[in-house]
């Protein structure tokens, strides 16, 4: 590391430096005055907030959440299914020239009245900040409601995946033996399942059971959690295998703690750092998954907004793809912001939680 950088570090961390330097300099002074104790959590937070990218990521995520949950409270003119019925009657003129049998040319103006009752594909203005879509629904409002679905579903999915992963990985790593073998073989099988095609099958399956379209995405994501906990389980198992051999676990054994207590109180907290990192990174990929499923038409019907569904429209309609970026662009940008935010935060957390990265 360059000397300048070290200097910068020193300036940034006056308290920690003092903690080392002070006792030697002033023996008589009580240590507590110059020493500020930092808990591991404080140190992690400090390292996390020192990285600009992770702060940017955090701001992105928090503002998206505020936008999606508080937004509709403030901006309540339009709901996600409300159609703007204030269509304007428009006239189009076309010039028709025709030559009669005498050779005289006549010019007519053909006036066509295109009366539409629905204010569809409106350009952004005061009443619709992002315009309206093909069916006259307000894009801005749908953006907020759609975000609720995408974010909530992804969060739920990641928490359930982590739960399954911790339970199965914990059991496999702690007990070992045949339990471990069985669980790991199941993990192998789940890892080789082709995820996306399987979800497409499940989508058809859900159709065949006649489940309402608006709940389809929840069932799909629930199924996704069932087949994707293997990665987390492996992570937890590997970590527990190495922790199991440490002295403090021997001590816990000697104290006569139950297996459940040893796993929950002594092993899992030590796996937490890796878990938190993997959770925040998989949040991003879950949002992408949800959006892709909605894009392929497996999500909620058009009446209910979701970011993927809102982009779906351009697959059929070249006119919207070319001329109405305000309809399909914003949801895409929101997806990118959400995924990018979670990736930045995950990356920052990884660096902050890594004990080797003491800088």
């Amino acid at each position: 590391m360059a000397i300048e950088e070290l200097k910068k570090e020193n300036e940034a961390l006056p308290d920690e430096v003092e903690a080392v330097a002070a006792p030697a300099a002033e023996e008589t002074e009580p240590h507590e005055k110059n020493v500020r104790l930092m808990s591991p959590t404080q140190m992690v937070l400090r390292r996390f907030f020192r990285s600009k990218l992770s702060v940017v990521g955090l701001v992105m995520i928090v503002s998206l959440f505020l936008f999606c949950w508080l937004g509709p409270v403030v901006y309540n003119q339009w709901g996600q299914g409300d159609v703007d019925e204030t269509g304007k009657v428009e006239y189009t003129y076309s010039e028709i020239t025709y030559t009669d049998e005498n050779g005289e040319t006549h010019t007519f103006y053909q006036v066509v009245e295109t009366g539409k009752t629905v204010n569809s594909l409106a350009k952004p203005d005061k009443s619709h900040p992002l315009g309206t879509d093909k069916t006259g629904k307000d894009v801005f409002a749908r953006l907020m409601y759609g975000g609720r679905v995408s974010l909530a579903v992804s969060f739920l999915a990641v928490f359930i995946i982590t739960f399954f992963g911790v339970v199965f990985g914990g059991i496999a790593g702690y007990f070992g033996g045949w339990v471990d073998t069985v669980i790991m073989r199941i993990c192998d099988i789940l890892m080789c399942l082709p995820g996306f095609p399987i979800l497409l099958i499940v989508g058809t399956l859900i159709d065949s059971f006649g489940i309402k379209g608006q709940y389809k995405i929840y069932y799909l994501m629930a199924f996704l959690t069932l087949i994707s906990w293997s990665g987390t389980a492996r992570l937890v198992r590997g970590q527990i295998l190495s922790l199991r051999e440490q002295e403090y676990m021997v001590a816990a054994e000697a104290m006569g703690y139950s297996a459940a207590r040893k796993i929950a109180k002594h092993l899992i907290p030590n796996v937490m750092p890796q878990l938190i990192v993997s959770m925040s990174l998989s949040l991003g990929s879950m949002i992408l998954y949800e959006a892709s499923l909605s894009y392929l038409g497996l999500g909620a019907p058009e009446k209910y907004a979701a970011w993927g569904t809102m982009i779906n429209i351009v697959a059929e309609d070249q006119n919207i793809l070319q001329n109405y970026f305000n309809v399909w662009g914003p949801p895409g940008i929101c997806i990118i912001l959400a995924v990018l935010g979670f990736n930045f935060v995950g990356d920052g957390l990884r660096d902050a939680l890594d004990p080797k990265m003491r800088r």
């Binding site: 192998d188 095609p197 099958i201 499940v202 399956l205 991003g284 959006a291 982009i311 697959a315 895409g332």
Partner: protein
């Protein structure tokens, strides 16, 4: 080594058995009348599915018998056929599933293979510069850019590229694989293919560079911090030699290993990308088949994917031992 490979192959068979069971159970959950409705819809849509094929399919999967033994018998029937490489006949395409997969694989493979080559060619140098200039502006810039690349949804980015490069600028055709208005041959045909595949490949490359670059960067940083690199520097070797001859060689280990893990993605086709650009690849074909409940094709395609990914994992592990002499397989 041979013993290890045999053991792994046996394990792979076990995994495939599990995968096939899951897929079979999923398909069996579908109500029979739903399938019949779908077949009727396909017949109305212009396809002609002979009654015989449907009956064969029902027999093959034991769909008539819904008792537990019936389901079990159906599964084993299907499994035996599978071992004889008989995946049944696709409803939608009216040909054996294997034939459909093989005939559509070429396009998907071309896109994936070219994209992978470019991905490695671009990502590795980027990863090396980011690692050798850690915490510099260059590092941050590269990191942020590839992070954005990772976060792009393929369908959204694909549509943007299509909109800008194909429709607004008109440099490339927006969709399909061949220009239907002309009959081309030889070099002209190849050129036409390249023009059609350019945007899909660009999409895939930009989306996948990030992961590869970050992998290179992490590995490179780890190697650069090791003792033998300090020794090399202390010997007074040029920085170029240290980085490219000493450090980079060890960085190559995980990169080469990951190459074997790419096997499934080379042949399986990118469902969404092919969908966006309407490429007649295997992903697109499979998506359409799945939307219309073409059961033989769904089963065949999913088993094909599972076999590929099992092989990919196996190859990656073997590759590891080949590339890194320190690793001993047992």
């Amino acid at each position: 080594m041979l013993k290890y490979i045999l053991k792994r192959l046996a394990l792979s068979l076990l995994i495939l058995l599990g995968v096939s069971l899951i897929i079979y159970v999923l398909i069996r959950c579908m109500p029979v009348d739903f399938i019949e409705n779908k077949i009727a819809a396909m017949n109305q849509g212009g396809a002609t599915i002979p009654e015989e094929t449907v009956e064969n399919m029902k027999k093959l999967y034991g769909l008539e018998d819904d008792s537990f033994m019936g389901i079990l018998k159906g599964y084993f029937n299907w499994l035996v056929k599978l071992c004889q490489f008989d995946f049944g006949t696709s409803f939608k395409y009216g040909a054996p599933v294997i034939d459909v997969i093989v005939s559509k694989m070429g396009v998907s493979f071309a896109v994936a293979a070219i994209a992978t080559i470019f991905e490695f060619l671009i990502a590795i140098p980027l990863g090396i510069t980011a690692a050798t200039h850690q915490y510099s502006i260059r590092d941050y810039l590269v990191t942020v850019l590839v992070m954005i690349g990772i976060s792009l949804p393929s369908f959204f980015f694909g549509q943007i590229l299509k909109n800008v490069l194909a429709m607004k600028l008109g440099w490339f055709p927006p969709s399909g694989l061949i220009d239907a208005t002309q009959t081309l041959s030889g070099m002209a045909l190849l050129g036409d293919y390249v023009r059609h595949m350019f945007i899909p490949i660009l999409t895939v490359v930009i989306l996948s560079i990030g992961g590869r670059m970050r992998m290179t960067r992490t590995e490179m940083l780890e190697v650069l911090n090791s003792d033998y690199i300090r020794t090399a520097r202390a010997k007074g070797l040029k920085e170029r030699v240290v980085v490219y001859k000493h450090a980079f060689r060890n960085t190559l280990i995980p990169l080469v290993t990951s190459l074997a893990g790419l096997l499934p993605s080379l042949f399986s086709g990118a469902i969404i990308t092919e969908q966006v650009f309407d490429l007649p690849g295997i992903g697109n074909v499979a998506f359409k088949a799945m939307m219309e409940a073409d059961i033989p094709f769904i089963m065949g395609y999913n088993m094909f994917l599972a076999i590929l990914s099992v092989l990919g994992v196996l190859l990656a592990d073997l590759m590891y031992a080949v590339v890194d002499p320190r690793v001993k397989l047992a």
